[in-house]
């Protein structure tokens, strides 16, 4: 699935602003950004890509059980993440590392998931309302919808004040659009006019299955039958991702109901480090998307606006430092206490489980202190 006249693109793969009706509509959102904000887009994309490389290396060195790279999808993620407001809630899938970082998640939490030290990694209430990763495909789109329904019931949305009105954004992929839960989320969101933006990253591959197996029509058209307006953007254009997401989130928080954004992007790496994309896709396809990279086109644009070498070398250095810090902290992530296995299954006392914990404690102690 490729860019068409219907696709919103503000920055071309060559790094030039696009002149079109759509860009005329959305460029004011970009004009309103400060130079520092525009630099921040770049900084986050570069740092998270370097993080991805480091995590992949850690996996290859046996320090992580698995890694889930997001390389290639930084534009879609960084733009949309910066479009959200602090009061918004974000329900990710499991590849939204850039969104996580922008919302305030310490990415060592994501590392812990893949190192096998936690099933969570952060407290959403302390991490910009960025909820936990969900591994079962599409399940979280219903949680997002329910959370948005709660905002409607609370009256914390659609009061007319965009600075305080809340909305929900949920990230999911092209594969997950085939899951029943995503369709049910569309049904519930439309029925209750829930303030939720469905942000679909169409990265073209669900592990080894191409998007053409999931859908014969463009996915942004999928939601129309549910009564949810859909729009397609160039997902490797961080500016389009920001502007269109901002518009749609503001519409949702304003009481207009749910929205779907399909970001056309590409998973440049494997699905996970256990995957072997050479078995199912052509190098020419990957090479084509290499020319559409979100970071290089944005760097070209920033340089054309006068950004100098010093900024880019500073960001590169920051990315190296971040990667080194992640590596150091990864290696210090040890085995969690058995408390974590038993203590949070229920919030209220549970006698049989407490007895099992007691048994394990005594069993371990029976081996003596040298065990």
């Amino acid at each position: 699935m490729s860019i068409t006249a219907a696709t919103v693109q503000l920055l071309s793969p060559e790094g030039q602003l696009v002149e079109s009706d759509a860009s005329a509509e959305y460029l004011p959102y970009i004009d309103a950004l400060s130079d520092d904000q525009l630099r921040e887009f770049y900084r986050q994309m570069v740092v998270v890509r370097r993080f991805d490389v480091e995590a992949t290396n850690l996996q290859k060195q046996g320090e992580l059980g698995l890694w889930v790279p997001s390389i290639g999808q930084e534009g879609a993620q960084v733009g949309s993440a910066f479009a959200a407001r602090p009061q918004d809630h974000i329900f990710p899938s499991y590849r939204e590392h850039a969104v996580a970082r922008i919302r305030g998640v310490d990415l060592i939490g994501v590392i812990g998931l893949l190192r096998g030290t936690t099933h969570g990694g952060w407290n959403p209430a302390d991490a910009g309302n960025f909820h936990l990763y969900t591994l079962v495909i599409g399940s979280h789109t219903l949680h997002a919808t329910g959370r948005a329904m709660a905002m409607t019931l609370d009256g914390t949305t659609a009061t007319g004040d965009p600075d305080t009105d809340a909305a929900v954004m949920t990230y999911f992929g092209d594969g997950s659009t085939s899951q029943g839960d995503v369709s049910e989320a569309f049904v519930f969101a439309a029925s209750y006019k829930a303030p939720v933006v469905f942000f679909l990253q169409n990265n073209h591959w669900a592990i080894s299955v191409p998007v053409s197996t999931q859908s014969r029509t463009p996915l942004y058209l999928r939601s129309g039958g549910f009564g949810i307006p859909g729009i397609q953007i160039d997902g490797n254009d961080v500016l389009a991702s920001f502007a269109v997401t901002k518009r749609n989130l503001d519409e949702a928080r304003g009481g207009d109901g749910p929205r779907l954004i399909e970001a056309l992007t590409y998973r440049m790496g494997p699905h996970t480090t256990s995957d072997d994309p050479v078995k199912y896709r052509l190098g020419t396809e990957v090479a084509h998307w290499q020319t559409r990279d979100p970071i290089s086109r944005y760097e070209t644009w920033l340089r054309s606006r006068g950004e100098g070498d010093l900024f880019f070398s500073d960001v590169a250095e920051e990315a190296e430092d971040f990667a080194a810090d992640i590596r150091r902290r990864t290696l210090s992530l040890g085995t969690p206490s058995i408390d974590k296995m038993f203590d949070f299954v229920y919030t209220e006392p549970h006698a049989p489980l407490a007895a099992q914990k007691q048994w394990l404690t005594e069993y371990d102690a029976s081996f003596g202190s040298d065990a």
Partner: protein, 328 residues
């Protein structure tokens, strides 16, 4: 002050319990299919939408996974959803959200997010229903860590247990024996009898213990009466809670009687009854005079209605097991 005791069927007792919970806590929501103006297909929520409004008693789209999944999001937003699943056999479209999401949510958040969700499920046979409307799927949920599973057998228990379930910060599967919706019983509207997860000795005896839950309780009590007429003294225990199971009264009873028969409407293999048999064997081995016996449905799909009285355990099948146990 004289207690406020009224005679009503379980359906009305549940309605009264839900009304009280809605009135006591503005965060309590009811969600389900046809629960609004119709009052649910069993009329358990009758009148509640008129009283509390469509935002508190929500007719949902016809999608069980959607009901459970959005309830999870609502609970994250501070609400206490009470979901009605229309019939036992319709819970499976929501099974993934219950077992993979709801049951694990608090654990994944290391206790920082509670899931105060109740899922009400009318279950069991004896109503001459069509396929998928007579099943007893409670073992699937009792097997799942993170869930609590309960089932009242009387109007009074239904009244206080539904309120306790709603008050719990953990997810509770609330199985309602639909064949017992309409027989009347006394309900003390002022009393919360016991903790939610407590079994109860409902008939005292000395020679053999019968354990069950839900609609099976009326069969067990009738069996005990028949056994008494033949000179056997039977103790009967109502589990009320299937996860966790309150074993203390069961073990104490078996230590007294030396014999145990566990009965349920579900197929017997890998069942709640099997779990009880194993645990009692571990805890009261030297008290047992006979093997623990199970009386259950057969390991076949629930049959067409004309065969259900053959499929489901009745007093005769319970007494046959009592006779076998007494023969040791």
């Amino acid at each position: 002050m004289t207690p406020n005791v009224q005679t009503m069927p379980m359906a009305k007792a549940l309605n009264a319990g839900l009304r009280k919970a809605l009135g006591d806590d503005p965060k309590v929501l009811l969600m389900g299919e046809d629960i609004g103006p119709l009052g649910g297909v069993f009329r358990i929520t009758e009148g509640l939408q008129a009283e509390f409004g469509p935002n508190r008693v929500m007719d949902t789209p016809l999608a069980e996974s959607g009901i459970i999944g959005t309830a999870i999001g609502l609970a994250m937003g501070g609400y206490r959803p009470v979901c009605e699943i229309q019939f036992d056999g319709f819970i499976f479209p929501g099974f993934d959200q219950i077992t993979s999401q709801l049951a694990k949510m608090t654990n994944r958040h290391e206790g920082q997010v509670a899931m105060p969700i109740v899922i009400r499920v009318p279950y069991g046979g004896h109503i001459g229903a069509v396929e998928h409307h007579q099943e007893s799927p409670e073992a699937y949920f009792a097997h799942t860590p993170g869930l609590r599973v309960v089932s009242p057998s009387t109007p009074h228990d239904a009244y206080w247990m539904i309120q306790e379930a709603i008050a719990s910060d953990d997810p509770v599967m609330f199985f309602e024996p639909k064949s017992r919706y309409w027989p009347k019983g006394e309900v003390n509207l002022d009393s919360h009898d016991a903790p939610l997860h407590s079994s109860a000795v409902v008939r005292e005896g000395t020679e053999i213990t019968l354990v069950g839950h839900g609609a099976m309780m009326s069969v067990l009590l009738a069996s005990a009466e028949l056994a008494a007429e033949e000179g056997t003294s039977v103790e009967v225990i109502d589990l009320r809670s299937l996860s966790p199971i309150d074993y203390a009264p069961i073990v104490a009873s078996v230590q007294k009687t030396g014999r145990l028969v566990v009965a349920a409407e579900a197929p017997g293999s890998f069942s709640v009854s099997s779990e009880i048999a194993a645990t009692v064997t571990e805890r009261a081995f030297y008290s047992l005079e006979a093997p623990v016996l199970r009386v259950s449905a057969f390991d076949a799909p629930f049959p067409p209605a004309k065969l259900e009285t053959t499929y489901l355990p009745d007093a005769d099948r319970v007494l046959e097991a009592v006779d076998r146990a007494m023969a040791y």
